[in-house]
Symmetry: C2
Subunit: 239 residues, 2 copies
């Protein structure tokens, strides 16, 4: 299992440990690139690749001529990282449970057909799930998965982690996803499932995801109880 990931990822991992353990304190400068080259016995390019990774994760920031520093503010749910709800909650030490409310094989709506670039006649699984963190409902999720890619999909699988199934069982490699953020008032049904009033706006996220080979494997509409689940990104300015 401990196979061989690229060097720069191994270095990034070690650095992440230093940060999480507090060896490198928030707001403080980490060792210089030259020192890191020494410490990890890798080239400078590799060190910089590792730092770039942690920078994109929001853990580090750099200041030319001065040094590299540990970010002092942490981001709750970094939208720029495509993480599953399960992973996200585990990181916060919360337990995720799922309640599958609908599980049907059906013809796609026009919207779904387009989003997944389906051929005529292809069917999709439609799965509606209510998702809980430590027993509290935070999310209602409508997912559409092409039958062609997931002929073995089961109710059981969707009661667990969807991404774990796709990556670990199916061995698909997820590349990225396009997500749109839309504020909406929940329908009565969704409001009830989230435990909020119908007059409380919720955040709807529409996303379709890509595999490494460019094919689309899911279309999902997610409703977040936004009082309890904050969406934050750190966006850089280009010059």
């Amino acid at each position: 299992m401990k196979a061989k990931s690229p060097l720069y990822q191994q270095v990034a991992h070690k650095m992440r440990m230093f940060i999480e353990s507090g060896t490198w304190a928030p707001g403080e400068a980490i060792p210089t690139e030259a020192q890191l080259v020494e410490e990890f016995s890798v080239s400078r390019v590799t060190v910089r690749q590792a730092v770039k990774l942690l920078q994109e994760e929001g853990l580090l920031w750099k200041r030319q001529g001065s040094g590299t520093y540990v970010q002092s503010e942490k981001i709750e749910h970094n939208m720029y990282e495509l993480k599953s709800f399960t992973e996200d909650m585990k990181r916060e030490g919360k337990e995720v449970t799922n309640k599958v409310l609908t599980f049907t094989l059906q013809p796609p709506s026009e919207k779904v057909r387009e989003a997944l670039e389906l051929e005529d006649g292809e069917l999709v699984f439609y799965v509606r799930r209510q998702r809980f963190a430590d027993g509290e409902p935070l999310i209602v999720e409508d997912t559409y998965l092409p039958l062609k890619l997931f002929p073995d999909l089961t109710y059981e699988v969707m009661s667990q982690s969807k991404y774990a199934y796709i990556e670990d069982v199916k061995q698909f490699k997820i590349a990225d996803s396009v997500q749109e953020f839309i504020p909406v008032l929940p329908t009565k049904e969704i409001a009830e499932m989230l435990g909020v009033s119908e007059r409380t706006p919720v955040l709807k996220v529409e996303l379709y995801s890509f595999l490494m080979d460019g094919s689309r494997f899911e279309f999902t509409e997610t409703y977040f109880k936004s009082e309890e689940y904050r969406f934050i990104i750190r966006a850089g300015r280009r010059h």
Copy 2:
């Protein structure tokens, strides 16, 4: 003006031109890295830096062993790039106008004081603006700017582009910003200014921004008419 930007940015710029002009068509593969090295007479590392840039802008995607391709879907408002409303609309060929509704110097609220890390007694400018694209109201924005950083701020400036003032006039270097996305129902006042019903949810974005030296220079709450202004990101999965 044409001074000397880093080589990889010049290369990225040329490549961006090829994409925008359609010389490299959407969905098609661009030349291989080896060919680009030839074409632009730079090292491979530099080519890869340029490609990385365009990849982060959502213009390209790569597939190991196969090639690098032009993205076929375009993103309307890439949240991961910190762009000003003015820049964003100009790119779409729309004309931006601003109506400054409030312009006062005042003591900060506790929330603003914390977000901007102000000392006791420091004052901030509070500016409320209504912002239009081709005459249509799309945004209401409440901005808080520290007096200490902008002692020369004028009503006139805020009628134009805030970021142009900060970068071109003040010569400050903007690094990045932390943004939170919150669905809300607009107050009566804001609903009116956006030309929507009070029962239409709008997207509120709270952000604070950083300069290159790590200092915070603005806290802003923005209300978007979300029917007309779509928020989309492309998020990558880490492995």
